[in-house]
Symmetry: C3
Subunit: 155 residues, 3 copies
């Protein structure tokens, strides 16, 4: 390896790290916003963070949900449930393992927690899950194209 | 749109994403440090992460606290309480939704958890909260100018 | 200070912030991957995220573990335990206070949580800890050279 190619390789590595840093922060922000919309029952805004044909496969639903309209229905169902029970849910992600793929999509494997607080009651950890997402970029914004969630208690 | 303006717009978008990435990481570091100072009872150092005239509005206090001296008093109170009860608190933030504003301030809406561990005892989730901060930049450092916290059990 | 040095100082500060942003994201990704390997019992892959001579000092072990072979043994022990008990552990880090040092190493002080979920059971917060790591860069990858963990219930 000549000195020149060494320097080029260093530049290349530094550039890739810099790009990854921008990507990682952008994806953290995307999820923060997405989860807060979900917990605030903003059904249409939350559904819009998925692609039109997104697949949402979670163990609490009998079969995978497809598309934004069906996703929004889930949120409205959650809202009715919360009004009836007085229980408030908070969805947290952490330990985001972000893997860009050659086709421009990004795979994310992350841990997901659900905290539940009854009105005037004691909060608790409700669910411990693993989330796997495929993200795609649409008009400069990340969108979830495919999500699979597994629950640790059912695994 | 001419090809040139398209390229300019792409450059502009890439530059904004890069700036946001730097901002996002800097704010995560700011909060990590701020929360660790708080839980370590470093009263003056923690108070110094707020602006001189900061307002700190949390449901456990009867009225909003104003300014660094009053903030430091809160930490010393926490320290006395911890020594008496033997309970150790850890404040976590997550799901940081970071929104830069045109005036150069940054609005952050985040989830906040408090874990509590009795000496030789079993840890538990003590509080589930939402934190809303206005951050300002002073001499190259982020400072909290205004904080409002709501507790899920009281909401 | 002349206007030129002021501009240079601003450029310098902006460059340092940008470098810190890249560093912070890279370290978050490093830990996300490291913790997921640990919880998935990928013993050798996890051990390879430490330096050859790494020291791993945690309160659940009678003495500090040294080196990759001994680290891998810990993971295999965890796997056997999990198979026997049916309990699944998830290790989370948060509040990462990342401090680069002049010698090129990075010191990280972070909060660490362990969630535990029994098969078909109710999840709980198992441990609340503080983790202190020294990270070094080897062939373009972060590696843990030294880790000390303290448990809040034993502190």
């Amino acid at each position: 390896m000549t000195p020149t190619t060494t320097i080029d390789a260093m530049d290349q590595a530094a550039r890739e790290q810099a790009e990854f840093g921008v990507l990682y922060a952008g994806i953290q922000q995307f999820y923060a916003h997405q989860m807060q919309l979900f917990d605030s029952f903003r059904a249409e805004s939350w559904a819009a963070t998925f692609t039109e044909e997104a697949i949402f496969d979670v163990p609490t639903l009998p079969e995978p949900v497809r598309g934004r309209d069906a996703l929004a229905v889930c949120v409205r169902h959650n809202e009715e449930l919360a009004q009836r029970t007085g229980e408030r849910l908070r969805h947290w992600l952490g330990m985001l393992d972000v893997q860009p793929r050659p086709d421009g999509t990004v795979h994310v494997r992350a841990y997901a927690l659900v905290y539940m607080t009854p009105r005037d009651g004691i909060p608790k950890v409700h669910r411990v899950c693993v989330m796997q997402d495929t993200l795609v970029r649409r008009r400069g914004h990340w969108r979830t194209a495919h999500r699979v969630v597994s629950r640790d208690d059912l695994a």
